[in-house]
């Protein structure tokens, strides 16, 4: 048997240090499975090509906040928001459920100085990073294709990160209530309409002036989509501020709920 040297016991981790270690763990897992990373990135790119550019050739430019924009330039920022949304969703739902129920990964972590707060922050940080990587890559595609019309677009990446944060946190919170894989049908059920109707492919005016439009305008992905669109087309309004506050609040509430739920589920 090898002799085991004593190591000094380090002080408990700071929240930032703890989140970094959790991200490192996920990074090591994905280093060997980087191809899985591609799918989340390709989906919005394919939509951009088929609908934004393909269908876009059939459509004349139209007005967005009083500015003339091409259809592709209209769809592209929506796909940017969607890529952040997809990336965040993938990790914070299926992967978190797997780790929580099957792998008992969080139980392992709780045998160490890590706390439920550390786990919540670390996993959400990872979802956020994954969403952000997709968005950054997508933004590069947009710039390359000339679909960015303003310097405001520099802020589109932080906006996408904010979207990833908000959805990571809320989806992870919802996942803590999931009992079986069947429950994930509900996630898909919410994901599709959000993706299709958050003014992603057509302007919100198409919903008329009734209640429906109000409902759409109050959904989180819509806030993300308009925020990105305002930034890449350069028509920033007071509405942009509303979207930012909306998404920040959503993320923080999600984070707090995740922490409380992990306490209830794991610290019994």
């Amino acid at each position: 048997m090898a002799t085991l040297d004593r190591v000094a016991i380090p002080a408990p981790l700071t929240p930032v240090h703890a989140a970094r270690v959790l991200v490192l763990r996920n990074f090591i897992v994905y280093k060997s499975a980087w191809k899985l990373f591609l799918t989340g990135f390709l989906e919005p790119v394919l939509y951009l090509f088929s609908i934004g550019i393909g269908v876009g050739q059939l459509i004349d430019s139209f007005e967005f906040h009083g500015e003339q924009v091409s259809y592709a330039a209209f769809v592209a920022p929506a796909m940017l928001a969607t890529s952040a949304f997809n990336g965040a969703l993938l990790d914070s739902t299926f992967n978190v459920f797997f780790k929580l129920k099957y792998e008992k990964l969080y139980d392992q972590m709780l045998a160490t100085p890590l706390t439920t707060g550390d786990i919540a922050r670390g996993e959400i940080a990872w979802g956020l990073i994954r969403g952000s990587v997709y968005s950054a890559a997508f933004l590069v595609v947009m710039v390359a294709m000339g679909l960015v019309e303003s310097w405001w677009a520099v802020l589109a990446l932080p906006a996408a990160i904010l979207i990833a944060f908000a959805f990571s946190a809320v989806c992870m919170a919802l996942t803590t209530w999931m009992k079986s894989w069947q429950d994930f049908d509900k996630i898909t059920l919410a994901q599709m309409p959000l993706f299709l109707f958050s003014a992603t492919f057509f302007p919100v005016e198409a919903f008329g002036d009734g209640v429906l439009r109000w409902v759409v305008e109050a959904t989180p992905l819509y806030r993300g989509v308009v925020l990105c669109r305002e930034l890449t087309t350069g028509v920033v309004t007071w509405e942009s501020g509303v979207s930012v506050v909306y998404l920040v609040v959503m993320g923080i509430v999600g984070l707090l709920v995740v922490r409380r739920r992990l306490d209830a589920l794991l610290l019994t």
Partner: protein, 304 residues
């Protein structure tokens, strides 16, 4: 190291631990014995600072788990009942990342992981997936992982359940060495030979309370006789014969296939039985074991 006073744990209406007092001293190997559902694992989880205490007082290293959980856990090694390894990481990374969870720096984690691979005798499996390991290897990896932070106190919940005899002996050997190195061990088990081998002191738990406490030797002296005479007669005769030899020992226990006579002088019992004209098919005189104490205290019926 550990001090509990009136420690209780309830889950809704169910009371798993009903007020226990325990003291574990530095450097000793302490055992929790008991049938399933006795409250051992609940107690272990409270000590591991992942399960809030319902009432009573619990101190680990003099700290309160309710307020100093992370600090306590930083000095603990926890080896859970099931091997909860990280199946998405390879064997080496399981140790490495686990060390990082403690805030141990990269270089130390790497060195330590390599040392522990050697300790667990799985160095050649460093790059393997966890699922490719045998049951014994997984167990050794789980135990190795619980040592990554060089714990002052190691909690082992049923450490050898499901292992073959060879693997159990290797593990006992390793635990013994850790004890020699000054690590305090707390073990739950329902293998009596394991408790006798490893534990300096132990408590027998039953239905959430402590039924007995002491060293294995003391417990045998207090709750059993020095020897046991096992007498086998024809099927169905045992009940009736028990009455005839009742006076020969301190206690006679009737089992479906044999009679157990508890006495300090087992051979004399056998001689006396034969002198009375009874003819057992087979006899065996053995020393009392912890198992006799355990069954005496917790009964022979199934707990769950």
């Amino acid at each position: 190291m550990i001090s509990a006073r009136g420690l209780r744990k309830s889950f809704g209406d169910f009371e798993a631990v009903k007020g226990i007092d325990v003291d574990v001293r530095k450097g000793e190997a302490f055992g929790f014995l008991g049938p399933n559902g006795a409250g051992k694992s609940s107690t272990m989880r409270m000590i591991a600072s992942v399960s809030p205490v319902t009432s009573g007082e619990l101190r680990i290293f003099g700290l309160d788990p309710a307020t100093d959980g992370p600090a306590i856990r930083g000095r603990l090694g926890v080896c859970p009942q099931e091997d909860t390894l990280d199946n998405e990481l390879n064997v080496f990374d399981n140790l490495y990342i686990y060390g990082r969870y403690f805030g141990i720096d990269r270089a130390t984690c790497r060195d330590r992981a390599n040392e522990l691979l050697e300790f667990a005798q799985i160095t050649e499996k460093a790059k393997s997936k966890v699922e490719d390991l045998s049951g014994g290897m997984k167990r050794r990896l789980t135990i190795a992982r619980s040592l990554i932070n060089n714990p002052d106190l190691l909690l082992l919940d049923e450490p050898t359940t499901g292992l073959d005899p060879q693997a159990r002996h290797v593990l006992w050997d390793q635990l013994f060495r850790l004890k020699q190195a000054g690590v305090t061990l707390v073990i739950t088990t329902h293998y009596m030979d394991e408790a006798e081998q490893l534990c300096d002191r132990l408590v027998v738990m039953d239905k959430g309370v402590i039924a007995a406490e002491g060293s294995p030797r003391e417990l045998i002296e207090a709750h059993s006789t020095r020897e046991v005479a096992e007498l086998r007669f024809g099927v169905g005769e045992h009940e009736a014969l028990a009455e005839k030899i009742e006076d020969l020992g301190d206690r006679v226990e009737v089992l479906p296939d044999r009679l157990l006579v508890y006495s300090d002088r087992g051979e004399d019992v056998v001689t006396a039985v034969i002198e009375r004209g009874l003819q057992p098919i087979a006899t065996l005189v053995r020393r009392s074991t912890l198992e006799d104490v355990f069954l005496r205290l917790t009964g022979r019926s199934l707990a769950d």
